[in-house]
Symmetry: C2
Subunit: 199 residues, 2 copies
DNA sequence: GTCTATAATGAGATAGAC
DNA sequence: GTCTATCTCATTATAGAC
C-alpha cells in the first residue's frame, strides 16, 4: 500500500466506517470490517487509530457538526410562507431518511451505544444539544424572515421539533409505510405551526 | 441445581435477560451474562433455548404484548377533563421512563437490532403496529368518555402520539434534563389536544 | 436434566520482519 | 510506514460424564 499520511488514513478509515455502519449496523462495525471496506491491513488501523472506541468517538463527534441538519435552512429560503417552509422542511427531512435509511439507523445505534459508554456519554449529550441549537436557529430564522413570532421560547419548540423528527424517523424505520409517514410529517408540521403567531 | 421444567427455566432466563438488558445494554447481553444473572450454568441456557437469538425474539415479542402501555388507560379514567387526561398520560409516561431509563434504552437497542436482523424484522414492525393500536384505543376511549371527537383519523393521531413519546424518551435519555422534558411533554400534549373538538 | 470441559469462531490489539 | 503472523480474550454452542 502506498505511504499516506496518518491524517489521510484516518479519513479513509472514518469514511469506510460510516459506510459499514450504514450498511451493516453497529454490531457489524468491527475493526476487521472497517479495514476490509477501506482495503487496508488490520495493522494499519491501529497505526492511525489507537482503538476502535476512538474511531467511534470521531463518528459521534462528526454528527455534532450537524452540517446536514443545518442544510435544511436552504429549504426555508425557497418557501413563500412560513407554513410552507415548515411543511417542506419536514418533508425534505423525511426524504433524507428514506434516501439513506441505514445512515439514520446507524446514527441511532451509535447514540444508544454512546449513552451506554461512559467515555462517550458526553458526546451523545452534545449531539442532542447541537440538534436543539440547529433547530432553534431554524425557527428563529423563520420568524425573522416572515416577520412573525413564536408563542413559546424557541429553545422549547426546538426540542419539540427534534422529538418529532426522531419520532418520525423511528416510525418510518419500523414499518416503512411511506403514506403514513407523510401524514405524520404533516401533523408534525401542524404541531409546530400552532405556535406561530403574528408579530 | 434443582430440576425445574423447561418452561420455568425459560421464564427465569427471560427475566434475567430483561434485567441485564436494562442494566448493561444489548451489547452486554451475552448468554454468559444471562446465565450469571439467573445463576445457572451455561449449558442450561441451551437446554431451554436453542440460541441467544431465540431469547431475543421472545423479548421483542413480549413488548408486542404491550401491557405496560395499555396500563396508561388507568390514568385517563381519573381525569376530569380530556385536556387533563392527555397531559397526565404523557407526564405519567415520562415518569415511567425516568423510573427505569435502562429499560427504555434497552427497548430502543433491541428494536434497532431487530430491524437489522431479517429473522426479527417482522417482530419490530409488529411492535410498532401494537404501539399504534394501543395509542389509537386510548384516543378513542378518551373521545367517547368525554363526548368529544378528533378532527383526524385516530390511526394518524396515534402515530403522532407514538412519535412524540419516542422523541420525548430519546430527548430525556440524551441529556436527562427533567425540566426541559416536562416542558416538552406539555408541548406534546398540546400538539395532540389541538385535534380535539366538540362532538 | 444438569453439569464441566471444550470446541470453534471472531474479536481487539500488538510484535516484529521488511 | 506497512505488512504478516500471532497473542489474548470473549463469544456461542455442544459433547459427554454423571
Amino acid at each position: 500500500m502506498a505511504r499516506i499520511s496518518v491524517a489521510q488514513r484516518r479519513e479513509l478509515l472514518f469514511a469506510a466506517a460510516v459506510r459499514v455502519l450504514a450498511r451493516d449496523g453497529l454490531s457489524a462495525l468491527s475493526t476487521r470490517a472497517i479495514v476490509a471496506e477501506a482495503e487496508m491491513s488490520l495493522a494499519s488501523f491501529h497505526y492511525a487509530y489507537a482503538s476502535r472506541e476512538e474511531l467511534l468517538g470521531d463518528i459521534v463527534a462528526s454528527v455534532v457538526g450537524g452540517e446536514r441538519e443545518a442544510g435544511l435552512a436552504g429549504v426555508l429560503g425557497e418557501a413563500a410562507t412560513p407554513e410552507e417552509a415548515v411543511r417542506r422542511a419536514l418533508a425534505t427531512y423525511l426524504d433524507l431518511v428514506r434516501a439513506d435509511p441505514g445512515r439514520e439507523q446507524g446514527m441511532f445505534e451509535l447514540t444508544q451505544h454512546a449513552l451506554r459508554t461512559p467515555a462517550l456519554a458526553r458526546l451523545a449529550s452534545e449531539q442532542y444539544q447541537r440538534y436543539h441549537e440547529v433547530a432553534a436557529e431554524l425557527l428563529d430564522h423563520l420568524a425573522t424572515r416572515f416577520d412573525r413570532r413564536w408563542d413559546s421560547p424557541t429553545a422549547d419548540l426546538a426540542r419539540l421539533v427534534v422529538a418529532l423528527t426522531d419520532g418520525l424517523t423511528l416510525s418510518w424505520l419500523a414499518d416503512r409505510d411511506d403514506a403514513a409517514a407523510e401524514r405524520l410529517a404533516a401533523l408534525a408540521a401542524e404541531a409546530v405551526l400552532t405556535h406561530l403567531e403574528e408579530a
